[in-house]
Symmetry: D2
Subunit: 333 residues, 4 copies
């Protein structure tokens, strides 16, 4: 029980967020205190609905479980500054592949009335130095949290971010990764002001540690509701992932199955999943016609920052695969 972890997951619940959240729900050592929603892969309303569906799937067969009690909070509907950038998202309009028809018409009743940012602040104040915050979407909620409570970061246990890039190669714009590109100012604020222990699973980390498409088939064809759900929501965009995305990813990293957000979640669940990492200060470029939103590594300390983050570089792919497989054999015993 010593290594039992309290976690808040901030998510823009697309397909890979769903996968990551399922991984947390399946992990015996993880207590998910709250799921906070943010725009990103879809509108924040879609994200709320998606998260409720994921929770529903993961406790479907069990009796009234603890899962039911994980509160879901609605957060930011757009970036900190400026309008939402339209992205042709690979996860469909609803973020979960546009395949689910019968959606819960009363979903809003299941969302807490407290704003995600206020909920984050409250929970972290109630559990100081206890909570790992896992951020899987644009970092808007986190930026707002430090604005409303400047001491918020120091009251976290640690922070896991899926986002940013290490080699100046973007997946949305030429030089910026999706989550950072969607809200560069918030990414900047978090990397400047969250002086807690911070781990980052970048786009390159995910892409350079991809899994095979054979593994993907094994993963989603497991005999369990969660696997069936994942099979359903990936049914349409599978083609995309395997074909269309090639343009962007394969040219740099070669092909393979990449479940982005799961890489950050896995590192939170089991640190041994990460075999190698770099420690250095980072900063986000806010200006620029080409580079806005790009994360820059300062390995020679030009910026004279006192705070460094940990950037994962090498993953124990076997351990990671096992966590993925388990996550779709929900529900948790």
């Amino acid at each position: 029980m010593a290594d039992r972890k309290q976690v808040i997951i901030d998510t823009d619940c697309g397909i890979d967020d769903a996968q990551a959240v399922m991984m947390a729900l399946a992990a015996p050592n993880i207590d998910v205190l709250a799921l906070t929603c943010v725009f990103g892969n879809a509108t924040v309303d879609h994200v709320c609905q998606n998260i409720l569906m994921v929770l529903d799937v993961c406790q479907r067969q069990g009796e009234t479980s603890v899962l039911l009690q994980i509160p879901v909070f609605r957060g930011s509907s757009g970036p900190l500054v400026g309008a939402i950038k339209p992205v042709s998202d690979h996860f469909g309009t609803d973020g979960l592949g546009d395949v689910i028809k019968d959606k819960d018409p009363r979903w809003e009743e299941k969302i807490q009335s407290e704003h995600a940012v206020n909920a984050m602040i409250r929970l972290v104040n109630e559990n100081q130095k206890q909570i790992s915050l896992v951020a899987l979407g644009p970092l808007t909620n986190l930026a707002l949290a430090v604005r409303l409570d400047p001491s918020f970061p120091q009251k976290l246990k640690d922070l896991f971010i899926m986002g940013g890039n290490m080699e100046g190669k973007g997946n949305v714009t030429l030089c910026a990764e999706f989550n950072f590109a969607m809200d560069p100012e918030s990414a900047y604020i978090v990397l400047e002001e969250f002086l807690c222990t911070t781990y980052i699973a970048t786009w390159e980390y995910a892409c350079r540690n991809s899994l095979t498409w054979e593994f993907f088939e094994e993963l989603i064809n497991q005999d369990a509701p969660a696997a069936a759900f994942m099979k359903t929501i990936t049914s349409k965009c599978w083609a995309y992932s395997k074909e269309a995305m090639k343009n962007k990813r394969d040219v740099y990293f070669g092909s393979g199955y990449v479940s982005y957000d799961a890489y950050a979640m896995a590192a939170c669940i089991d640190p041994d999943v990460v075999l190698q990492s770099i420690e250095c200060p980072v900063r986000v470029e806010l200006q620029g016609a080409l580079c806005r939103g790009m994360m820059v590594l300062d390995r020679t300390n030009q910026l004279k920052k006192s705070h460094s983050v940990t950037l994962f570089t090498k993953c124990d792919v076997r351990k990671f695969s096992r966590l993925l497989l388990q996550s779709l054999r929900q529900p948790k015993k």
Copy 2:
């Protein structure tokens, strides 16, 4: 009673904010629902203390008055994005001329525990379309309010801003006015997303409608506690205002006494104080080595914005003077 106004004043309480707040407290038709504090002329903690002192002065001689019940909320301690820019402030380190020695050691107890931004949102939701928001400092609290509640602006009655400029001449940087320069992103957000009726008293409006230094002496030498307080807090920076500030202001507008924030407050109290104004869309420049924070007027509709603001250009100086004189004859009968 038909024209009785409910007002929230968001302030970075320096000397001119104190003057503006006193004007509101003295106005028979104004109910101040809340005073929300923001960094700017001083740290947000100094601002909180300053506001408490102003409230104390304005009800000093009366019995337990309604003034006692105006709640004060602490808000943002820095700009939305980036670090606070150090400014050599003309109002001293504490924002009130650095002359008051015996400060209340228990001031923090008198500040509400609710964050200014949450208080704003709550009050505006409780009094929809009833509240005039008067913003006298950097617009950080307002920007955060629309982030936490996107419908916040449309639930306001109207918005009065002291800030920005109309002719590309700044008082802090070369091209930007103090309140906008201190937090350009928030100014940008407010001018893009607050689609309510918006009135702006710019730096040029204040400077071009300055009062004489003779009037200033008459103003602070009135026989009343509020006047005495104003005389005290301006005692040191009077020299500054008359001499040192010349460099920046006189070169453009000539000399004279300019009580910035009072111009916005006066327009809220009595619309007839404004004799002339321009209506057009505006936008804040966020980039630029020289122009960051500058407010740009779009009088020929190049930006295709649907929303226009009202920019004051000509003030009824006689009416304005009378409001100033009354404001220092506190307390309100």
Copy 3:
């Protein structure tokens, strides 16, 4: 003869440049050493043709005159950095109102083979401290001249620029004047590196010292070939000047006839045309979504520049009108 002036005119010959050049050609105290062409109101090829037509008109009735010998040089066809910005030009596609049909098919033979920039450098080296450079278009040729010969500016007698603005109001973009907006980098370079005596006739100077439309009619209806030519080339865009341009100019300055470039030329011909001016350092904003190309005045010396320029503010409209009238009574006796 003591005040006889040697002048090089750098021009993007549109209608108002034509007017300004005619003013120089008509001035008894001005020797035009060269006409150097630059893109701007039209392509540099159109500009070359336009200048040849102007020269032709101004010596039409005389015998082989000295005018024939003024060499015309082709210069820059686009801005220093980046692509040409398309502008819906008020002077038509050819820069002279799109009304002249019978153009000289052999015009290229009349253009010198030497590049305008090299010609400028050569002439200024041959006549050090003797030449007034009058720049009526984008400042690309001047920027290139200082790049190829860093001592070029100090070998000028003085520099007259038509361009830039003083109040953050643009006529092309929201905040930038045409000549500066067309090549902000060159404007920046010239204002940073041309440390010679520099006079600037800004957009506001021209607009605030406009003439009446009655005067315009008197001007073009004079009985002389130059007047007839001006009447022809303004025949189509007159409507524009009087009507369509209202949107941009009238909203700020009121209506009236404004012959931009002539204001700079007149100041070179007769300094007494300028009644009032400001001396201060200036700088051009190179970045910014709204302010790129805007000229910023540094009246309080924030930039710590050692070099100031002279910005005209008030014109002797009577003297200026007389110069205009004379200019269309070509040829010079």
Copy 4:
């Protein structure tokens, strides 16, 4: 003789430029038509002197050779826009290690009076489609050449550039390589407007194909005047290269001897030195607090550019070493 190459070398002659120029002088298939100088590793005056020394060394023992006749031209003394950025250069103040004492007092007489940019334009016009331009410094001269003669690029045979980076890691600023960082605008212009066949040896290409320090000792200890010269000029900065530079280079690429400019020159001399390369459009970021001057690869064609460049990725280190060794066994037979 079929593959005999006419070359103009544009250089900011530091130590590695000297090495690259010697390689060209030693190559039997290369005719160096001109050496054009540009600021960079040192002032343009130092660069001129350095190039003369290199030429002198390479023909020292021979009789009046053809080398004597290679003309040297002075070019740009600073970047296209803005002031020179001070860099703490690893090649000393004079660019050649600050070790040579007895400099030629009459060096200026040996520099051609024609400006480098005009010389480039003239030579390329006289030898259309014949000349390979090898650019080893900031690209200012090239940018000016296309400004004065827009058809300059299409009259080149091809262009070899040492500069830029591929992975967002800089050696001067956080994200930009030295030659591009010294004049981002010129780098931008060249990569946008030089639509000729273009080869780029980036910083990463050089660093990832470094040689051993043992090889370096073998190289400079050869018994020949050129080797002795190289030994002399590297005597002081050797320590630097092996120790101090570690901070910047080793953290990314590991240690080793990297003769930057020689990589571009070698590819011009013998295409087989390059084993692997990428073809894609590139663009230089001009804005940004961190990324200004960074070269961005557009491998998925987001920018819709029609022109691609060839970026070297893998070098035949054996062939490259042989060219280096030969280059210091000057003079050419």
